[in-house]
């Protein structure tokens, strides 16, 4: 254990030293993502699924469709739920047990990107007003954690949604036929998040785990196809200046366009 800690401290210093010279440890440019691979519907059981790899970070997202009651204040709208599991399989730092703060934050930020962008046309998920609507359940399973879980998860979620088919529902029998998946889920746009690390004075896109381990700043900005921002999450104790924030917005929109093409 101790060896691992010492190694990490030395690595942190190396990341900091490189950043002081404006460089990244793996030679990437400030605005360069690692290699991204996206598999569409790798699984058969979920109604939609996606596997996203960003470098060695590996995430599977599955979408399950269920029928349930709408919220009383939105009687004609389907509902959305996002869960994230940090399986101890994915990292020596994850522990078994109920989701901790980090997993909850991840799920909530992915949720907000999809919800606030209006990516799912929830009105079309109403089966019977006040009584039955579709519930879209998005589950994020981290397979290997090597940094930037936010962007991998948001990419996975929107890809899985775009590939989700709604099963047939027999209203009389109140039964879902998961064997017959016919209609496509009504998805209206592609929210995509871009995450930045601030190390020293440098702003880097798509931080790897070695960069995240340095106690630097982290901020995630989710944008829509039209360039609008739909979610922001500053997620670290290091403060940002207004100038930095403005620069980050520009980069988030630009890089978002590139990511959106992959979906």
């Amino acid at each position: 254990m101790e060896k691992r800690v010492i190694k990490m401290i030395m690595q942190d210093q190396y990341v900091l030293d490189m950043a002081a010279e404006g460089k990244r440890v793996d030679g990437r440019k400030h605005d360069e993502f690692r290699k991204i691979e996206i598999e569409k519907n790798p699984l058969e059981k979920p109604e939609g699924s996606a596997r996203v790899r960003i470098g060695k970070t590996d995430v599977i997202v599955g979408v399950k469709m269920e029928v349930g009651e709408p919220f009383p204040d939105k009687p004609d709208e389907g509902t959305l739920m996002v869960g994230a599991e940090f399986s101890p399989m994915a990292s020596p730092d994850f522990e078994a047990g109920p989701p901790r703060e980090d997993a909850v934050e991840l799920a909530r930020v992915v949720d907000r990107g999809i919800r606030e962008s209006g990516a799912i046309d929830v009105k079309k998920l109403c089966i019977k007003k006040k009584e039955k609507v579709w519930i879209v359940m998005i589950d994020i399973q981290i397979m290997n954690h090597d940094g930037n879980l936010f962007d991998a998860s948001t990419l996975g979620a929107i890809t899985a949604l775009l590939n989700t088919k709604i099963p047939e529902y027999d209203e009389k029998k109140d039964e879902i036929n998961y064997e017959k998946k016919t209609k496509v889920l009504p998805v209206t746009c592609k929210p995509v998040s871009v995450t930045f690390a601030k190390i020293g004075n440098q702003i880097f896109v798509d931080p790897g785990l070695d960069e995240e381990n340095v106690e630097g700043g982290r901020i995630t900005v989710t944008t829509k196809d039209n360039g609008n921002i739909c979610a922001i999450q500053k997620g670290s104790p290091v403060p940002f200046t207004l100038d930095e924030i403005e620069k980050i917005f520009d980069m988030a929109i630009e890089k978002g366009k590139e990511l959106r093409k992959l979906v």
Partner: protein, 243 residues
């Protein structure tokens, strides 16, 4: 920043002539700050922003237990944000929710840069925030209270952190939203800021707006934060005079 599902009325009433509670768009809700409200705590404060009431208490720095959670080079900052059961229209069930877990995290991160944690290795500073009444802006009220409570506890700080949320309804940018406004706004952007060092320590956003609008909201929020900051300082001075 209510859970997004609560913002039912988005786009319902775009053309708002003036604010529901007759405030100007850049005007804060009635603000009251009081330091030293929990005798048992090392530091404490109450912040009232409109109908929202947050109380914060600070215990520590004290030795951290269990020991394996200690950090050898600095104090651990621990924040616990809780809505009391009768704080809202529908009773809140006790216990941690996903929402409160996230708020604990962003609150801690909003406060941390202000504190000289490195002066207290192996220690913990506990910050407890109770929302006694909730009417929008509970996380920002909590941060405002916590910041004063930390200073009241005599913990060395780089600056006070002050916080407020901004938004946009129709064509108007506005700050310190009340509950009705939070349901209408096209975006909810809580900001925390250290005026002396001009640094943003909390930034979140839910909504759907072009980047120019988001920047405008952040700038407006920062202006209001300067006002809150003054009130925080006044509250601490009043407390120190009383001794």
């Amino acid at each position: 920043m209510q859970p997004a599902k609560a913002r039912k009325g988005i786009h319902r009433r775009k053309v708002l002539k003036m604010r529901i509670d007759k405030r100007k768009y850049d005007e804060l809700r009635p603000l009251e700050i009081k330091a030293g409200v929990i005798p048992n705590a090392n530091g404490s404060a109450m912040v009232r922003m409109g109908k929202t009431i947050a109380v914060a208490a600070v215990y520590g720095p004290r030795e951290m237990f269990p020991k394996f959670k200690q950090k050898s080079n600095k104090a651990v900052l621990n924040t616990l944000y809780t809505m009391v059961p009768f704080s809202t229209t529908e009773r809140v069930r006790p216990g941690r929710s996903r929402r409160s877990m996230e708020i604990c995290k962003v609150t801690r991160q909003a406060l941390e840069p202000a504190i000289f944690l490195e002066e207290f290795p192996k220690s913990v500073i506990d910050v407890y925030i109770n929302i006694i009444q909730a009417d929008a802006g509970t996380r920002t009220a909590g941060i405002n209270a916590a910041s004063v409570a930390l200073a009241d506890a005599g913990i060395p700080m780089r600056d006070l952190v002050a916080s407020v949320a901004g938004g946009k309804i129709g064509k108007n940018f506005l700050v310190d939203l009340c509950m009705e406004e939070e349901e209408e706004t096209e975006a909810d952007v809580p900001v925390a800021y250290m005026p002396r060092t001009r640094q943003i320590t909390l930034l979140q956003m839910d909504g759907d707006l072009p980047k120019e609008d988001v920047k405008e909201i952040i700038k407006l929020a920062i202006k209001s934060i300067e006002k809150i900051y003054k009130e925080q300082r006044k509250a601490l001075e009043a407390r120190w005079k009383k001794g």
